[in-house]
Symmetry: C2
Subunit: 211 residues, 2 copies
């Protein structure tokens, strides 16, 4: 059961010098209920230390903590799950290691990839990039709203729109029927992450489809 | 029980264009009984695929397969253990995930670090770099034989000398009382990995201390 519709993804290079846990704490205070630790350039040890800090914070706010790619780190810190992608362990193998209760999110960039992830046992999918993002090279060309709507129709598991979604585009994104939105910079780079999270959540919830 | 005294570490950039599994297969045919998959630049998925191939090969030769850093990949492919280091999950946390039977090797660069790893539950330690290696920047300045001998005396778990050990230096290395030698290029870059492994093993075993 995915009971959040704003999925915060970290990027400590976008905090303008603030400590990542401090920014995440603000976002949690603003109502965020799910955080993915995604810092691909860190060593396992550094990521583990950061994950421990975020685990404490997310517990405090009864929020979910997801770990990008590293199943071992997720298990070691008692995270709620992992976020996998094309470069990660296959979803079926991850499921064997994680057991039935831990969450598996999958970062899909096409309807076929999203369906494959669902078939293999993912609990939800992030789908994108919907819009052009500052880091567009990382995610490829924007897909736009129509593949998003197609994916929403094709999948039975919750789908989060990802990539360049801003407050002003939440309404059209949520109109596709997707479960929620995954965001990095709108919150991480915000001057006031608490207020940003609060107002984004308000807008997402207003336009959320009842499941 | 560490029943091997030549520990082969992979580096697919040193195979001169040959497929890594083919080179490892040669080394196994030459008598190698333990292989560490260490390809830090690969994605989890690529490393997983390679690990599956090496798992089949090492099974065929009743050899141990160790996975560098990624506990999740080691568990997913049914490896014998992991090789950890300063950038990995802490040894105590790794032990919790791996259970009592899987092996934990630790890459130590000082006596204190090696002792810490033993205290925390590592099964064996690689120690080095003993000599100057082509990739010296990666491992730091060579430590020489005397810290190696010191580490051998200080530790109760087996210790493998690592870093620039060649056939000609095996005798003086083994004279420190260390359990064995960890090698990359002497086998991986050899024109004939089978013959290289065979003659290195012969020399190591000749000079091995009985434990």
């Amino acid at each position: 059961m995915i009971d959040f519709n704003l999925y915060l993804i970290t990027d400590r290079t976008q905090t303008a010098g603030r400590e990542l846990p401090a920014v995440v704490a603000e976002a949690l205070a603003g109502g965020v209920r799910s955080v993915q630790l995604r810092e691909k350039d860190l060593s396992a040890r550094q990521m583990f230390e950061l994950a421990l800090q975020l685990r404490m914070l997310t517990r405090e706010y009864s929020a979910a903590l997801m770990i990008n790619d590293r199943i071992d780190i997720a298990l070691a810190v008692g995270a709620d799950g992992v976020q996998l992608g094309v470069g990660s362990l296959p979803v079926v193998d991850a499921r064997r290691l994680l057991g039935p209760d831990m969450l598996i999110g999958y970062s899909a960039h096409s309807v076929a990839e999203a369906l494959r992830a669902e078939c293999d046992g993912a609990d939800f999918v992030t789908f994108g990039p919907v819009y052009r993002t500052p880091s567009k090279l990382k995610y490829g060309e924007p897909l736009g709203l129509s593949p998003l709507a197609e994916a929403v129709n094709a999948l039975h598991i919750p789908l989060f729109a990802l990539g360049g979604v801003k407050k002003t585009s939440i309404e059209e994104v949520m109109a596709t029927g997707c479960h929620g939105v995954a965001m990095i910079s709108e919150i991480i780079a915000a001057t006031d992450p608490l207020e940003a999270a609060k107002s984004l959540l308000e807008k997402i919830e207003k336009h959320a489809t009842q499941h």
